[in-house]
Every structure is written in structure tokens, then in C-alpha cells.
Homo-oligomer: 459 residues x 2
């Protein structure tokens, strides 16, 4: 959804310095929508607007801008201007922005933050990208276990404006170790005098700062959580990750999965096709394509080793692309369903026996249909071809149909073994990208094809 149609009106408000109306207009919108308008403006225009707005409103909108725009603004603005906004940004978004900034920019901006915010940024941005620590926020509420429900509501009321969620609150001991949690629902249901310790949940689902973000999102999904606490090695509460972060993580991981399946490298920022420079797109794609082209040497060599026989029976060369395509398609389908099942934790490497036997059943059915089709195709397309003496079109059609059937079955089996083997080696199954699989089954397909021809036609 992009709203460019109202841009002239916004520019008009800027030109006429109509601060009040601009503030009123942006205040009425959800920050996510307001940021869409501002994304279309020049950095200088955005800065003018931010200087006119209340700091909390400016910070809310700023947090929703594209990171590239945020960096451009931070570069252009005076440190004090940007400091005022950063102070009020959600801590996790702020730490993300810092991670994307140059060291020079960071040094320029850090002194404008209060010492508390500075320490927070430095802590949050120190975690490895893709870990729970890098996604978490430090905006959560803690409660003393000895507090009463009534006191807890007072604490929540006081903390609410500053905190990302008040729907879960966490209980910690004197050394800040996580010992329990209560939901706001629990507090509402408790009688006012009841102590937190009496009704807090002590079996707390939590993740470690180093846990992979995809695993965190899956835990939030599995247990329908609004937030999950993050602890360090000593069990000390250091942050929380909220349900909206989980959705964003899943979107990012989806993009990564899909791109990996098609052999595209890179950092997979979701939704950045037009903004990413062509040279970066080129770099993300060229590695795999060159690798596959070099790996294709092997099938080239197999073809050349069979060149003398192809010279005698050129019709065999004409059907090489068909054999290769069918294997690639059948193999990609099989590997795709298995890669997805592994990602959803439905399959583990130990299931390999069950998977292979299932895939053989499925692919034998496919092979019968496709082999028969190929046989018919050869008889129809090559009816007028020159067939050297000693061979018949029927026997050649047979060789091609049979090879194609064998190729479909073997490709499907290879297509499920490779991702399961990758998972066993604790590598990402999606590394068995579809183009890579195509290159591999090209080789097996040619070997099957030429062996079948050699054997059945007596070459």
C-alpha cells in the first residue's frame, strides 16, 4: 500500500509552514501509515517536519521509516536533532539502526543520548545479527514477587507509556535472575491484596540471547505467546521479544528461504527489490550461476565421452534437454516439500527411510505417466527423422521413455536425500537450491540415458 496521491498536500503544508495542520494530520494516522507518506519525501523535507513535531510523534514515525531513509536522515541532521528522536525510539529499532550506521555516524550520535540510552544501545547492538539478543527490546516491566496485585497494577500504570508491552510482566530475584511471570490477565483476575509470588507462573518459557531468531519466532508461534523473555547464560533477564517481532522475523526468514531455494545469496532484507542497487543484485545472483556453470562441466564431459555414439545416432542428442528438464522438475518438487517439512520441524534426518520409501511410491506413479508421454512424443515428433539402419524408431522411443522414467524416480530420491543429509550435517537444507539440484540430476540423467541406450540398442 503506497499513498503518493496526498504528497502535494503535504508539500503544500510544508511550504506554507502550516505546522499545526501538519501535526494534526500526522497525529491522526498510525505511525506505520504516516511513515509511508514521509518515505516519499526528501530527507531535507522530513527533517523540517520532524523539527515541527512533538518528539514522541516524530520518534514513532521515524521508527517506521525504511532503515536506508533513517540512515540518510541521521547523516543529514544535526546530532542534537536526531538525538531527540533516538531517545524516544523503541530500543530494538534503535539498536538495529545503530548496527547499520557507519562507525563515524555512531560516534557522532552516541554523545547526544543520555547515559542510560547510550549503555542500552551499546549493549543491544553488541549481539550477533539473527540472534535473540539482536532482536530483543529492553522495554519490559519487572515486578517484585512480594508486591500485591493492586501494587502491580500501579506499577504497570506508571510504566505503561514507556513500555512496549505491559501484558506480560516478569518477576526477578535480587540478582535479576528470571524466576516467574504474570500476565495482566492474571493480575486482573487476582484479588487486589494477593501477592504476585502466590500466583506467578514459575515454569517460564524463555530463550537465550544466542538463540537463533527463527527458533524464537517458532516458539512464540507454538505457544501463542504475546512476548517471550530473553536471558543470558546466568539466567539473568536481559530483554523480551514480542509477537510483532516474531511476525517480522518470519517474513524475513520466508524471503530468505524462497531466495535460497532459487540459488540467490545475500542478506535477504524483505521487500527491497527496487531499493537494492543492481550491482548488489548481481553479486547475490552471480556466485551460484557461475558455480552451476562450472559444475555443468561434468555433464558436458559426459556428453563428450558419448560423442562418437551420438554421431551415429543423432536423434539421441535431440532428446537430451527433455530428459534433463523432467529430472530437474521432478527433483525440485520433491526437494521443495521435504525442505519445507524440515523447516516446520515435521521431518528429522532420522526419517530418511520413511521419506525415501514414500518418495519412491510417488515418483514411480509420476514416472509411468511421464515415461509414456515421452514415448508418444518421440514417435510423434521424430516420425520423419533419419534413423540409421539397424535401429528402429520404436526401440529408440523405448530407450527415451524408459530413461526418462528412471530419471524421474532417481531425481525425486536424490531430491529428498540431499536436504535430509544437509540437515543431518547441521547445514541449512535450503542450501540444496533447485538450480543446484538440477545440475546434479543432469549428471545422473545423462548417465542413465546413455547407459540405457548403450545396453538396449547395443551401441
Amino acid at each position: 500500500m503506497r499513498n503518493t496521491f496526498l504528497l502535494p498536500e503535504i508539500r503544500e503544508l510544508i511550504a506554507t509552514e502550516n505546522r499545526q495542520e501538519l501535526q494534526a494530520f500526522l497525529e491522526d494516522l498510525h505511525p506505520a501509515v504516516a511513515s509511508e507518506f514521509l518515505n516519499e519525501l526528501e530527507v531535507s523535507e522530513i527533517l523540517v517536519i520532524f523539527n515541527w513535531l512533538d518528539a514522541p510523534l516524530a520518534a514513532g514515525i521515524f521508527a517506521h521509516l525504511d532503515v536506508a531513509k533513517q540512515i540518510a536522515i541521521a547523516k543529514f541532521a544535526r546530532p542534537s536533532e536526531i538525538g531527540r528522536i533516538l531517545e524516544l525510539m523503541p530500543p530494538d529499532d534503535r539498536a538495529d539502526l545503530f548496527n547499520e550506521m557507519s562507525e563515524h555516524q555512531q560516534e557522532k550520535i552516541l554523545p547526544t543520548l543520555s547515559s542510560v540510552e547510550r549503555a542500552d544501545v551499546e549493549k543491544l547492538s553488541s549481539y550477533r545479527e539473527g540472534s535473540a539478543g539482536a532482536v530483543m527490546t529492553s522495554d519490559y516491566v519487572t515486578l517484585r514477587p512480594s508486591a500485591s496485585a493492586a501494587e502491580a497494577i500501579e506499577t504497570l500504570r506508571y510504566e505503561a507509556p514507556r513500555r512496549e508491552t505491559i501484558y506480560y510482566a516478569y518477576c526477578i530475584d535480587e540478582s535479576r535472575r528470571l524466576i516467574g511471570f504474570v500476565s495482566l490477565k492474571d493480575i486482573i483476575l487476582a484479588s487486589p491484596a494477593q501477592k504476585i509470588v502466590e500466583f506467578m507462573h514459575t515454569e517460564v518459557l524463555s530463550v537465550n540471547v544466542s538463540t537463533d531468531q527463527e527458533e524464537v519466532a517458532q516458539i512464540i508461534q507454538k505457544y501463542d505467546l504475546i512476548a517471550i523473555p530473553v536471558t543470558d547464560e546466568a539466567g539473568i533477564l536481559v530483554g523480551i521479544i514480542t509477537h510483532d517481532d516474531a511476525i517480522d522475523i518470519m517474513t524475513e526468514e520466508h524471503t530468505e528461504d524462497i531466495e535460497k531455494l532459487m540459488a540467490i545469496a545475500g542478506t535477504h532484507e524483505a521487500g527491497a527489490y527496487l531499493k537494492t542497487p543492481s550491482l548488489v543484485h548481481f553479486r547475490n545472483r552471480v556466485g551460484w550461476l557461475v558455480g552451476l556453470s562450472i559444475a555443468g562441466m561434468v555433464s558436458g564431459m559426459i556428453i563428450h565421452s558419448f560423442e562418437a555414439n551420438i554421431q551415429r545416432l543423432m536423434i539421441l542428442a535431440l532428446y537430451m534437454p527433455m530428459i534433463a528438464d523432467s529430472g530437474g522438475n521432478a527433483g525440485s518438487q520433491a526437494s521443495t516439500v521435504v525442505i519445507r517439512a524440515i523447516a516446520l520441524k515435521e521431518l528429522v534426518p532420522g526419517d530418511i527411510g520413511k521419506v525415501i520409501s514414500k518418495e519412491i511410491k510417488i515418483s514411480v506413479m509420476l514416472a509411468c505417466v511421464l515415461g509414456l508421454l515421452a514415448w508418444g512424443k518421440v514417435l510423434f515428433l521424430s516420425a520423419g527423422s533419419d534413423i540409421p539402419a539397424g535401429f528402429s524408431l520404436y526401440s529408440i522411443a523405448m530407450v527415451i521413455g524408459l530413461s526418462l522414467s528412471l530419471q524421474v524416480v532417481s531425481s525425486a530420491v536424490i531430491g529428498v536425500i540431499l536436504p535430509l543429509a544437509a540437515a543431518r550435517l547441521e547445514m541449512d537444507p535450503a542450501l540444496i537450491a533447485s538450480p543446484a539440484l538440477t545440475t546434479i540430476v543432469d549428471i545422473t540423467g545423462l548417465l542413465i540415458y546413455f547407459s540405457t541406450a548403450t545396453y538396449l540398442l547395443g551401441l
Copy 2:
């Protein structure tokens, strides 16, 4: 995550009729985890356990079982046994289950429900699959706008045990039209005597019962919502969809996207590879494979129209697979990034000009690298091949390298035009599955290859 290691202990508890310990064991677990244990048991064993458990506990665990297992249990159980559990299930899960049941099963079970639950099931299960109506729950809290904050808290306290979320409450007028909402945070922040109407939000984000579930999930994601209300054509509040449903929808849609990209049809239930019968897998895959095989006739015909020339210069046939593979890989990469960008609403059909110009830049860079590689490959692999008089290996290598370069650029451009055109026609861009694209660019690749050869070699 599957926990089979404790199964013997559970079976032991069943055999020794140790009801208390079983109840205590399952009560301590999150229902999502408890259901994983029960998924591994026989239907008859599960029924024994459910008869021993409190109805709310049984209903919570039952709601998390696989739908196939739920149906098997419903089939096997006495109507009264299952009715007791269904009464207490979350309404959206219950409606999903009913949709999967046979009409006979539905008729058997409906009479066991109270009239309120029966009406609810019949209403929820009447919506089209994949619409907001089919995903929503009727478990939400409504507030009178004239109530005070203190009264609102009393209402929420009373409703909490039965409602999926009490963190948002919805305000409706006398005809049940949605007129506002308040979060529990708003209520906590308000003074106890303040009336809801004074602080409720009147700009309510809502969706229609017929809105597509994927769009609902994207709205929840964009605005970081915990829940979104669903209204009918008249603006009457009929349900809500919560953040955990949004995550489940995205997982399901992602599985569908990935499978479509690899030309796999079907309903794409997430995580059901081993449970789906082989025949269903076969049906999901065979349609596309047969279609592609038939579409492949076109490339077969092109090859045969060039057969006479290939007979003179057989080396051209040997490099057909390489030309086809490079086009398929480059085209699939390009279409994948564009399909993903459309899904994330970053690109619209109107951007086609910008996308094509970007894709030409990227693919020309790729074409230079890959064309040069192909040229080197021909010189290396075919050094010993028979080249008929009048032709040189260098000129043939040139033809192959140049054709491959042209093929990479044209495939990338076709790969981005097709999904954008599909979006313009309001079809799903992911229909341009990678294997379908491969089949299409096989045709353009062969035409480029044979034309270049004809022109440069004077065939």
C-alpha cells in the same frame, strides 16, 4: 520437536489406571506440548485419557492435536464424550474441525452442543475457506461506551476465563455496529470513573468477513496489532482475529508460495508430508509435470525444424542443455525476487518499466560473465571434436557464448514480466512457477540459439 521418549511412561500410567498422576503430568505441560505426546498414541488410548481429564484440560489439549487425529477421535468417540470437549474448544478451532468433518459426523455431533455453541459453529463454518470469516473467533469482549473504566475492568475480570484475548475490548452500538475499541492498557491508564466513550479509539482498523486471510495477516503485521475486529457488510461486529492466528496464516501461505513456485498444486496444509497419502502427493505434482511435458512439445518441434542443420553441425546439439539450463536458472532467480516483492506489496504492476530496466542492468552483467564462461567451456570441452570443413571451433564457441548471453538477458526480462503481468490480471504471481518459466525460456533460448547460429555461421 517430538517427544516420543516418554511414551512408555504414559502407556504405563494408562495401563495402571493412574488417573491422578496422568492428570497432574498433562496439567503441568503447555497444551501444545501435551498434544505432541497424545499425537503419538492410538485413538482408543487418547479417548481413555480424555475421559479421565477435566473437560477444560481435555478441550485445551484436543484443540492442539492434528486435525486428522481430531477427526479420527470424533469418529470413534460417543457423541456425548466428544460434545463435552467441543463445547470448551476455542470457537475458531472448533469451526475448522467441523469444516473437515463429513456431513454424517457433523449431524451426529451437533445435537450434543448447546444451542448457543451450535449456532456459533454453524455461523463460523459457513464462511469461505481462506477468508477472514473462516479464521475469526467469536471469543471477544464487548463494552458499552457508557461504562466507566472501573466497570470495564469488572467486565473484563468476569469475561477473562472464557475469552481468547481481553487485551482489546470492542465498543458497539445498539445494533452491534462496531464504533470503537479500547486496549486494556488504555483502561489501566484511565481514571476509574472515566467513561469508555471519553477515551475509546474511534478510528478502528477492521476487516470484512470476506477479506482474504493473507491480507488480514499483513494488516496485523503492519500495525503490530494483538487482534483485529471483523465486521460484516453492515458494519456489525462478528468476530476478531488474533496475532497468533496471523502467524499461523503466514506459515500456511508461505508453504503455499514455496510449493507454487515449484509447480506443486494442492491445499498446502503446513507440515503434513508424511501424513499426506502418496496418491495425494502424486495428484498435487502430476498436473504440472504433464502440462510442462506437453508444453515441451514446442521446444521439441523447434529442435526438429533445425534437425537438418544439426546433422551438419552436431556440436550445436551437444550444447543445447547448457543454453536451456542457464536461461532457466537466470529466469527463475529474477522471477523469484519479483514474486516475493509483489507478495510483500513492495512492487505493483505499474512498476513494470522500472523493474525491466533494473533487470536488464543486472542480467547484462550476468550475461557477460556467463557468456565468457560458456565460450571458454566450448573451447576446452570440444577441443577434440570433429568440426566440419568451413567452420572453426572459435566461431562456434562465439555463437554459443553469444546465444547464452542473449538467453540470460531475455530469460531474466521474461522472468519479471510474467509475474507482473499476472498481478495486473489479478492472478497470483506465484503461478509463474519456476518449472513453467523454464519451459517458456527453453523455447526462447532455442530460437535465439538457432537464429544466432544461422546468421553467424551462414547455415
